[in-house]
Assembly symmetry: D2
Homo-oligomer: 136 residues x 4
């Protein structure tokens, strides 16, 4: 299993007039988590795109357990629980505040795509090889 | 069943460097759909909040079928397929582009909350009464 | 002079916990105004980009006169007061609410750029020709 | 003079289809800078609001010198060059990328407001006292 924690501080503009983080801002937090997971295993998402591979999102699911508030320091914990098989990669997320309280859980399925042709691809060997040590 | 269509034009800032609408912007489109559904049945979401009732989101699920692009004129079709029972209300969404192509489907569960006390509420009678004619 | 009015309804996610529209969301409203001005004179910004010309923003200035609120129906009035000379085009904006109250004024300078080479360009003749009738 | 540097990593959703950070996302970066400046002098913006004081923005000005790109690690350098006089406080900003290249400059005027009454206030003594040592 791969598990990586990223930190973000809630910005004022991310709240809404309810006084909490707007529900539509969490997908961006999840993306920060994914990006830091790739960086942690040794290949930034930017490098993946420069390689000619994109990772569009196929589906997203979120449960809002407790609200995040302005200036909270959030821990975004991102999990890859099994090696990508075929064209897809599945991420799970937990967001906790500075007191460790669980705020949100979620998951996304992404797929590998050739940037030039738009064709769907199997997970590149270079990425698989960086992930394998975490599953041994 | 209640079914209401809202229109939004994709803004430049809603795209990302993939050239499509960023996956995290769809929850905002869904919210536009919900808001127009409430307006269409006769009580704007703003009036509901002025009444002292808030509708936080409990969960969200999205399937990204086809990408939306800059300047697309999107139809956000919002459905309430059954009357709220108890404290929850369930919305389903379809987003289609100007050619009628299906881009996204999704759903959200919201719950009724007292704005002052933060207590969870049953769906207010005034809202139920506006919805009932659609289910007869 | 060219003057075009676009309408946007304030979205919930555009407010912040002060209860007003977040100050950082107005540049997006200005962009909606610019885009509708180009459409009104006969060439959408999308077509301009498809032609191989981009219009990056060089500078932005905003005065926040009165706050916009959730669900307000805003009129974004966009002005081009003189024909572009050389590589730049200057836009001015006023945002008013449904009661005609002035909320925001602002302006932006944009410049014409070749999409492929990144070279700065003079305003293309095709755009100038669409604008000239408004200044006669 | 007070000068504080905050770091942010550019998120994917902050880019647009031009491949750069969308021009409307810089005000949010400036806000991150301001917030870290308050924290650095000893009173977080959250504490200021809990005190019953808000700081709405009166005006904003930005010059876009060079584009920020996805995954750039930005330094947001925020300056208060003189003590607030009366009801206003003036912030200046520079944004630089990981190579020290200047991307953006800007400034904002904010004013002090009583959260309950909406009345404009002089800068509270408690904030002035935290700032004074930087100007001696």
């Amino acid at each position: 299993m791969i598990e990586v924690t990223a930190k973000v501080r809630v910005r004022y503009g991310e709240t809404d007039q309810m006084g909490y983080v707007y529900y539509g801002n969490y997908p961006q937090y999840f993306e920060v988590g994914r990006v830091e997971l790739f960086r942690a295993i040794g290949m930034s998402y930017k490098e993946i795109e420069n390689f000619g591979v994109m990772l569009p999102v196929a589906d997203l699911s979120i449960k809002y357990v407790n609200p995040a508030r302005y200036d909270d320091e959030l821990s975004i914990i991102t999990f890859v629980r099994k090696l990508p098989e075929g064209v897809r990669i599945f991420f799970e997320y937990e967001i906790r505040n500075q007191e460790g309280k669980l705020l949100t859980t979620g998951n996304t399925t992404l797929y590998f795509m050739d940037k030039k042709t738009g064709r769907i691809l199997r997970c590149p060997e270079s990425i698989l090889n960086l992930m394998k040590p975490f599953f041994e």
